[in-house]
């Protein structure tokens, strides 16, 4: 038993490490092909994401919306409902929160809270539209959530291009005016972007860990994800779980957007959530973490660091910053296979063949 536990612990620690190293190797090959020294590039990348205070602050601030949207995705995915619409939900949540902050006479902490609640409510409603369509009309959640991303992105961009556009300055940038000073999250110093939003995000993620593991809702959604029929048989109302998980997922996405707006940008900018790809990075982080919020937090910080390092790399070395995305997708792909398991299976398969027993049963693993 002890041996088994030790082996399992080793596997759970080793397979992400192997995946990350393999992905970094892929990144190195790509960089070699473009004629860059990968060792130098990686050194640059990691010092300019984790090992200098300014960049570390950038990384942490960047990781906040990523971990929240990652947990938002995990909430829905672990219950078996594939929500790909975090990006659209973030757009709507962010826009509504920004509109409230700009046009309503709200001030200070309570004002911020009110705006965030408004944004979360809007994002929740947007997440519930595809849920309702799936529940009532069997319209595939995957397609509808993803299609709404594109539609919402275009429509929200309309608002900052026309009615809400900031005409001050040269007026070229498609963005709204800035929100009031008292509504912003507290910034610790003027030297870097570090602000309270990061801690709030981390707290929410830890809270979600307890929701996932210690509450009735968390248990029910997990069972629904594992086996819908069994959940039904056990008396879990799948409709209720579906709407609850999707609503929570939407609310968390909306919260992620608000964190970005009240903590970093202070305004709604054209395509601010689609061009940055927070939602997708969050999705990757949560897939690497296997739906676990605490691990999602860790991997979000890591992936945010890759992104920040990637932008630094583009500035200094001239390697396109998409190298960070390439590495991130490779990690997800490699970790999804669980090469250790495959390797062990192959080895034991060989052993069994020697003994003369049939191991392979057709195509069924």
């Amino acid at each position: 038993m002890d041996e088994l536990k030790k082996k399992r612990l080793f596997d759970s620690a080793a397979s992400p490490l192997i995946a990350i190293l393999a992905a970094l190797a892929v990144g190195a090959i790509v960089m070699l092909l473009t004629g860059t020294n990968p060792l130098y590039a990686y050194k640059e990348m990691f010092t300019k994401s984790f090992f200098k205070p300014y960049y570390l602050a950038e990384t942490l601030v960047r990781s906040a919306p990523i971990m929240l949207s990652g947990v938002a995705a995990a909430t829905a995915w672990r219950a078996g409902y594939i929500n790909l619409g975090m990006q659209g939900q973030m757009c709507v949540g962010g826009l509504v929160a920004a509109v409230m902050a700009i046009y309503l006479p709200v001030h200070s902490l309570w004002g911020t809270a009110l705006c965030i609640l408004g944004g979360m409510a809007a994002a929740t409603l947007i997440a519930l539209i595809p849920t309702y369509l799936d529940y009532k009309f069997n319209a595939s959640l995957i397609i509808t959530t993803l299609m709404l991303n594109y539609a919402i992105n275009h429509i929200t961009n309309y608002f900052v291009a026309y009615p809400m556009r900031d005409t001050a300055g040269d007026g070229m940038a498609q963005q709204s005016v800035q929100i009031e000073q008292s509504l912003r999250f507290f910034r610790f110093s003027n030297k870097n972007a570090m602000n309270t939003s990061v801690f709030i995000a981390i707290l929410v993620v830890i809270l979600m860990y307890f929701v996932f593991t210690k509450t009735k809702f968390g248990y029910e959604s997990k069972i629904t994800g594992l086996n819908k029929n069994f959940a039904n048989y056990g008396g879990i109302k799948s409709m209720k779980t579906m709407f609850q998980t999707m609503a929570l997922s939407g609310a968390l996405s909306g919260f992620a957007a608000c964190i970005e707006i009240f903590g970093v940008r202070y305004r709604y900018v054209n395509s601010m959530f689609s061009s940055t790809g927070y939602a997708w990075t969050g999705l990757m982080a949560m897939l690497i973490a296997g739906y676990n919020p605490l691990l999602t937090l860790v991997y979000s910080i890591f992936l945010a660091g890759l992104n920040i390092g990637g932008t630094a790399l583009q500035r200094t070395v001239g390697v396109p910053m998409q190298i960070a995305d390439i590495i991130q997708c490779c990690i997800t792909l490699f970790i999804s296979v669980n090469f250790l398991y495959e390797f062990n299976k192959k080895r034991s398969g060989k052993c069994r063949k020697k003994v003369g027993k049939r191991w392979e049963t057709g195509g069924v693993a």
Partner: protein, 311 residues
């Protein structure tokens, strides 16, 4: 005067139909690829990535060779290659389809953006460089009617090929032995295995085939009209195609109809730009997709209800 204006309007309509045909082709190819996978019980989410890879590689090949045919082959090969990777992950190593699909779509998106900067040194779009478009066909026997002539003006060979491939796939599925084998894998892979059909191999080949089809779609998308590549230029067409395939209930001939519907939505989003703000028209195809699969769901559920009442 009135007569002339009517003729102008007619020609405008013909131009809109022409655009519709152009926008239909990529969706049709990808929808056929999607249903080829669905028919043997594989859920292919990476259509988008396969198309985008094909578009990009076709443009790169075009940049170096200035030969439309070589670009086409290169693009199709790229689509097939991406599909093969997805197949190995999804079918051989049993990774969840959604995980491989989304990761692969994002990977292709970032790899193409990366290589675009590495090769062309530009961000955003690649255009010009003396790149050639696909060979255009003009049906001169339609000259007698300006309307019909305009309707089919400057379509490429691949645009016509889409419909032919749909019919060929229909024949393959329902009239040939190996097509039946493929369908049997979709109905019950274990049963098919027990009868000596290598289900896994068929599934992998179906995936690669879908990659080839998406490759055609991607190449047409990049080189059919204006020869251009833009970052993430497929913008959800793979998923629109998934919607088209599911609306057609994975029937190849039905896919023609549903793809034409989405082609119309896509072309409307361009032609309505003169009348409605472009931010809203850009959203039309996506909202249409949501609406269409919802209506499809309503129709199917009422049909089922009627069927159960009859029983």
């Amino acid at each position: 005067m009135g007569d002339r204006r009517r003729r102008m309007n007619n020609l405008y309509l013909a131009a809109v139909i022409n655009t519709t045909f152009r926008y239909t082709t990529p969706v049709l190819f990808a929808a056929l690829g999607s249903l080829a996978c669905t028919k043997c019980a594989v859920f292919n989410v990476a259509l988008e990535g396969q198309m985008l890879a094909a578009s990009f590689v076709a443009i790169v090949a075009n940049y170096y060779t200035h030969n439309a045919f070589i670009s086409l082959l290169a693009g199709v090969a790229a689509g097939a290659f991406v599909a093969w990777i997805v197949a190995v992950f999804q079918i051989k190593w049993k990774v969840r389809d959604m995980v491989v699909g989304t990761a692969m779509n994002l990977l292709v998106q970032s790899v193409t953006a990366f290589l675009m900067q590495a090769i062309f040194g530009s961000r955003g779009t690649v255009q010009g460089f003396g790149m050639v478009p696909l060979t255009k066909i003009n049906l001169s026997f339609l000259k007698f009617s300006p309307f019909l002539y305009r309707m089919f003006e400057d379509l490429s060979t691949i645009d016509y090929l889409g419909y032919i491939v749909a019919v060929l796939i229909f024949i393959y599925f329902y009239k040939t032995v190996s097509g039946f084998h493929l369908l049997s894998v979709g109905i019950n892979a274990d049963a098919a295995d027990s009868l000596g059909i290598k289900s896994q191999r068929i599934q992998i080949w179906a995936m690669v085939f879908s990659g080839i089809l998406c490759g055609f779609g991607g190449v047409v998308h990049a080189m059919g009209n204006v020869t251009v590549f833009a970052e993430n230029m497929t913008s959800g067409r793979g998923f629109i195609a998934m919607g088209a395939a599911s609306m057609a209930q994975s029937h190849p001939l039905g896919a023609i109809a549903s793809s034409l519907f989405f082609g119309t939505a896509l072309s409307l989003s361009k032609t309505l730009q003169g009348y409605i703000n472009s931010y809203f028209t850009e959203a039309i195809p996506y909202l249409c997709t949501v609406l269409a699969i919802t209506i499809y769901g309503v129709v199917i559920s009422t049909q089922r209800r009627k069927a159960t009442i009859k029983m």
